[in-house]
């Protein structure tokens, strides 16, 4: 069955929209308002640990992606200093650590029950399938 004369341009137009959008989604650079992934060490964390209580304040492994959320921000809301890697974060202080290389990083972290924290930094979504996947995930998450 042949489409009627008015349907043909409509289909052509829809094709342009779909292909154009897909092409943009696959190739356009990703821009985000903030690159920060922020976590807070809550007040009382050290005291809870000293009492042998389980402290589960943020994930044992933090996953970041270059170009999207590649800056780790740790804020110490506790009343004592905390150690993150070689950085002593004083009470009320934040430590903002940018990453530029995809890798797995292991840090000593006194806010965690076992004293360690892993940060996995993934590469930026590559042009093509990677960016398309990322945008699809964002779209479906927002929906």
């Amino acid at each position: 069955m042949r489409p009627s004369s008015w349907k043909r341009p409509l289909l052509a137009a829809l094709s342009v929209v779909v292909l154009g959008t897909l092409g943009w989604a696959a190739l356009a650079p990703i821009r985000v308002a903030s690159h920060e992934a922020a976590f807070e060490i809550p007040r009382g964390t050290f005291a809870h640990r000293m009492h042998g209580e389980h402290v589960d304040i943020f994930p044992q492994t933090i996953r970041l992606t270059l170009g999207l959320n590649d800056v780790l921000v740790l804020r110490n809301g506790d009343s004592v200093p905390h150690l993150f890697g070689p950085a002593i974060i004083m009470p009320g202080q934040s430590f903002r650590l940018p990453f530029e290389t995809a890798s797995t990083y292991s840090f000593q972290c006194t806010a965690h029950p076992n004293g360690g924290l892993s940060v996995i930094v993934d590469p930026a979504p590559a042009p093509g399938w990677g960016r398309l996947q990322w945008r699809w995930y964002e779209l479906t998450s927002a929906a």
């Binding site: 929209v17 950085a87 202080q93 430590f95």
Partner: protein, 202 residues
Amino acid sequence: MAAVLLLALACMAATLVHFAPAPAPQQAAAMSAEVLKAGVFSPAYAAPEFSLRGTDGSDVNLARYRGKVVLLTFGFTHCAAVCPTTLATLAQARNGLGTTADKVQVIYITVDPDRDDAGHMKAYLAAFDPTFLGATGSANKLAAVRKDYGVTAVREGAGPDYAMAHTSSIFLIDPAGRLRALMPFGHKPADFVHDVRYLLNS
């Protein structure tokens, strides 16, 4: 036909605009203003002071270097990989700073006082940059400095060729003596040049 195509293009443009939000101008300005290559402490507090024996024969302390950026690092002269890499990087960074290089002081505190006396450290550091200053002291004094900075140093091996596993990050202290940032091991000289210029101008 043309009207439908125009409508289609308008729809596409609207989609692109919707899914490509640019940062607001104020936000973008704030982001660029606070960007350092190193990890940044906020707010910045005074860097822990110390008093050690310098390779220039004087007492080394931070107060001496107000007005300069101090790049503070810990290591030992028998280090096979990390220390030579760090010191070579810092030497290249200092070269990259050109005429502002004299506004930077590298201080290298030993974690191995048994083998690193002032004379030996001076000769070792001069191979990288004669302006680099080594600092040593008693084991207790050095341990106290390490504790203040959250630095670890653990002896590995029992024989005379033992090694020291140690913190490899570099501390960035601004001209006012505040501990502003910490550069993890592995960064390029250009990153130090960038951050030192930022600290000198901020």
